[in-house]
């Protein structure tokens, strides 16, 4: 029996540029106990469709036509006909919502258990304190949190994963018919993500509710849901059981989504190149870290480490780790944005933090970067040309700026006539990130630091942008430091990988060794936690996830480094 039927729903957003049809003619049903995944890129209408069932559309959106039937309602089952009070009673009790940012959705001034009591009292009326306590204890126990400890805490005392599990506890404490989870793990690292998703699945199976999981990660979907609904530009392009979608998708867009998830050991999305051009031969290493460490107050972001990168043979060095592992700190140290607490960062033998203005300009010209957020990298006041033109002129480079810009755009697969001369907000995230790559190409530096260059770009464009970055090495002889949390892309693009954990290198070597056959417990845990878009490669259950987290706690603060072999032109040592 289905619990929710969405019939021919159309959702419109009137804007100053005209009416946007965010969702067009979507029909689907959620069966009892079934998990449905809504997948699509940002702006595809996946959240909008799900929120329409709760009547929680963002202003000024409205349901233009169609019906949403919640079959457990008495009499008229169409939720669009309910009044405000009726809708209030439906929310949480019949349909609950687990939001994307658990950090912002818990009340910061209330204890965790009191927030559960609030939900219970709002729907079932006042009751004895003991009864309330029993309810919150049961809800927290269900998600694997100790009610006597966690229940008494305030949200800021919990980690991100714990907060998200509290949200699951609140979302399931009234045993709703349907749970809508809107990218519940997008802010969490893969290890915590696995634990939270397993908890959610476990709770959903226990109360027998339907689940709508909204996301953009095909791998996560494959590991978490029974059916997948693929949305593109507000249209439901494909809907079916997960195995059928993954193994035999009919719509080209679905196939593109699946193929955009790189697999470790799978086929590479890069084209092999002939011998890449050589960089200049130097007596000193291009970039050298000599016992560099960074301490912020009482936190050690990076323990002393040294490496030397030879620039003659261009290569890509990947630095992999979770948030807080110190990988971005390394990036900003190498760019000279941050002074190291100990040691020296040397570029062509000169300490980059002891340069005069002229030397610094020369250093800037030779070391460029691509940052994570393509939306922030352009000054909204200027046309995008400014970001390309200014450094070109500032570095006193020879040649025609406009011709160089056009050439660089074409090299990264952008039509110069289409993107140049526009304002940043008129371009998509993918276009902007490619423009930043074009900028790096135009300046032809010796070294490029790419700090999570694709983590904020839609999945279908990631492979293209990584291929652009890879071309910088292959066709233009630029050495690249690739900083990422994504082991699968690191596996494909890099020549050498180092895995960072709490500011230590735990494992380092060629990618086929480190990622293909991990030896260190932490690396293995990271790889096991990746949600594979492969149904036969199971993710394990909540027990496994919990055991993995316990194991992580055992590794503690001073792990051993496992060296897995060297490549010519790069040496690394911890200390």
């Amino acid at each position: 029996m289905s619990i929710l039927d969405i019939k021919n729903i159309h959702i419109d957003f009137p804007t100053s540029k005209g009416v946007v049809h965010a969702v067009t003619d979507v029909t689907l049903s959620v069966e009892k106990g079934r998990r449905i995944g809504f997948i699509g890129e940002s702006g595809s209408g996946k959240t909008t469709t799900a929120l329409a069932a709760m009547r929680m559309l963002a202003n000024p959106g409205f349901v233009a036509s169609g019906e949403v039937h919640l079959n457990s309602l008495d009499g008229d089952t169409n939720v669009l006909h309910l009044d405000e009070e009726g809708m209030r009673r439906v929310r949480l009790r019949k349909i609950s919502y687990i939001p994307q940012g658990a950090m912002n959705s818990l009340n910061p001034v209330m204890r965790v258990e009191a927030q559960i009591w609030d939900a219970v009292v709002a729907h079932e009326g006042a009751m004895e304190q003991a009864a309330l306590q029993a309810r919150s204890d049961a809800a927290l126990n269900g998600v694997g949190l100790d009610p006597r400890v966690v229940g008494r805490l305030y949200p800021h005392e919990l980690s991100g994963g714990m907060k998200q599990r509290v949200c699951i506890a609140i979302g399931t404490c009234l045993t709703p018919d349907l749970i809508i989870a809107d990218e519940p793990t997008s802010a969490l690292d893969v290890i915590t993500q696995r634990h939270v998703m397993q908890t959610l699945r476990e709770m959903q199976a226990k109360i027998g509710a339907g689940l709508i999981l909204i996301g953009h990660d095909m791998g996560l979907m494959a590991q978490s849901v029974d059916d997948i609904a693929v949305l593109k530009k507000g249209v439901l392009v494909e809907f079916g059981p997960v195995r059928k979608i993954i193994e035999d998708a009919t719509h080209p867009y679905t196939r593109e989504l699946i193929s955009s998830v790189p697999l470790v050991g799978g086929e590479s999305f890069l084209q092999a190149q002939a011998a890449p051009p050589k960089g200049e031969a130097l007596d000193v290493p291009l970039l050298e870290l000599d016992g560099v460490s960074k301490v912020y107050g009482s936190v050690t972001a990076l323990h002393p480490m040294s490496f030397a990168l030879d620039g003659e043979e261009p290569k890509i060095i990947s630095i992999v780790g979770q948030s807080g592992s110190g990988k971005s700190t390394m990036g900003s140290l190498m760019l000279g944005f941050n002074d190291p607490t100990g040691g020296q960062v040397r570029f062509k033998g000169d300490d980059i933090n002891a340069m005069n203005a002229a030397e610094r300009l020369e250093f800037r010209k030779q070391v460029q970067a691509v940052f994570q957020d393509p939306y922030a990298c352009f000054n909204p006041f200027y046309r995008v040309n400014h970001a390309l033109k200014f450094p070109f002129e500032n570095f006193g480079m020879q040649g025609d700026v406009d011709a160089a810009m056009r050439e660089a755009c074409e090299a990264v697969g952008l039509d110069p006539g289409l993107v140049l001369g526009r304002y940043p907000h008129q371009l998509s995230g993918g276009q902007r990130q490619r423009l930043i790559v074009a900028r790096a190409l135009m300046l032809s530096p010796k070294l490029l630091i790419a700090d999570e260059p694709v983590s904020m770009v839609d999945a279908s464009l990631r492979a293209t942008i990584l291929a652009n970055i890879h071309d910088l090495k292959d066709k233009h002889g630029i050495s690249i430091i690739y900083i990422t949390h994504d082991l699968a892309t690191a596996y494909h693009v890099s020549d050498y990988v180092m895995v960072l954990y709490h500011g230590h290198v735990v494992e380092a070597g060629p990618p086929t060794e480190v990622i293909g056959d991990p030896q260190h417990a932490y690396t293995r845990l990271l790889i096991d936690s990746i949600p594979w878009p492969d149904l036969d490669r199971d993710w394990g259950d909540a027990g496994d996830a919990r055991a993995a987290l316990d194991k992580l706690a055992e590794i503690g603060g001073t792990p051993e480094t496992v060296y897995r072999g060297d490549i010519p032109g790069f040496t690394l040592r911890q200390g």
Binding site: P14, G43, F395
Partner: protein
């Protein structure tokens, strides 16, 4: 996927203009140019009206009538009677005060003066605020501490208290001098505002990109950050003009400020001083009050309009 034209397509569905009423379409067209904002246009027109009063008044009316005894004293506006039953004459269309000054001439000279004090004080305050805010936000450290603490302390001091004491001891001062004194109390909020914005912008992606491009601190401050602050600066400037005019009028109504130059506040002070309220000479205090209201409403509308220009979410369909 690698097709460049494909990459340019937006990820969301395209907007659809069909099915809208003519009225909605017309309103939407207006949003093509955000500066074409009714509130902003009305506000600017009201202020320009005050300026026009000053300019055309000087051309078409004799400003020498502001001196004592220039016309018959205590006359009502045209078509009204004063307490003695004398009907107002066209030679003094807005009436006269007890000292025989023509009210129209007083307004022609006084209204632009009040606006001048406000704009000048605000300009000086903003310049100070921009300089201090950028210095504090961008330099950080000890300099930031000093600027932050001093602006926080200054914000708690009631300006009128200090100004009354200072101006009373100065005696007669010029309009410019008064603007400078008021400016000493309107730099704090722009300083705080700009410091906060600079602090957040300093870490933003485009400032990092500019540093990567080898930009100097001056380039980053004035070419990368300042243009993005323009909406804030405008809003802050207009709010400061309002504060400065209120402060100036407040002092003038207390009988402080310039003694020999007509200002709107001075006219109201004279009216109160000569018991215009009990003598039923409503035109004496009424017309300057109306002009002040026009000024404040104009400034408020400009501020609301600017808010809508810089924040598209406030615009309604």
């Amino acid at each position: 996927m690698s097709d460049p034209t494909n990459a340019a397509a937006p990820e969301t569905a395209a907007p659809d203009m069909a099915g809208l009423t003519k009225r909605q379409l017309k309103r939407m067209k207006r949003f093509d140019n955000p500066w074409n904002n009714p509130k902003l246009i009305w506000g600017v027109s009201l202020l320009l009206g005050i300026v026009a009063l000053g300019i055309f008044g000087r051309l078409f009316w004799d400003t020498d009538l502001v001196f004592t005894g220039a016309v018959m004293p205590s006359q009502a506006p045209v078509g009204f009677e004063n307490l003695r039953g004398q009907v107002g004459l066209a030679s003094s269309p807005l009436g006269t005060d007890v000292a025989g000054k023509d009210l129209l001439a007083l307004l022609i000279v006084g209204a632009p003066n009040s606006l001048y004090v406000g704009v000048l004080a605000s300009l000086i305050g903003m310049s100070l605020g921009i300089f201090l805010g950028f210095t504090a936000g961008y330099t950080g450290g000890r300099v930031d501490d000093v600027i932050r603490v001093s602006s926080d302390v200054m914000i708690t001091i009631p300006p009128l208290l200090i100004l009354v004491v200072v101006q009373a001891s100065f005696g007669d001062i010029t309009l410019t001098m008064m603007a400078v004194l008021i400016a000493a109390f309107v730099w704090q909020s722009p300083t705080r505002l700009i410091r906060a914005q600079v602090l957040s912008m300093r870490e933003s992606g485009y400032v990092q990109m500019a540093r990567l491009s080898g930009a100097s601190d001056r380039h980053i401050m004035f070419r990368e950050m300042l243009p993005n602050l323009v909406p804030y600066l405008f809003g802050s400037f207009i709010a400061n003009v309002t504060t400065a005019i209120v402060t100036a009028v407040g002092l003038e109504v207390l009988g402080l400020g310039p003694q020999r130059v007509p200002t709107l506040g001075r006219v109201i002070y004279d009216a109160i001083d000569s018991a215009a309220l009990t003598r039923d000479m409503w035109w004496w205090w009424g017309f300057p009050t109306v002009l002040l209201m026009v000024m404040f409403i104009g400034l408020l509308l400009i501020n609301l309009g600017l808010d809508e220009v810089s924040n598209p979410r406030l615009r309604r369909l």
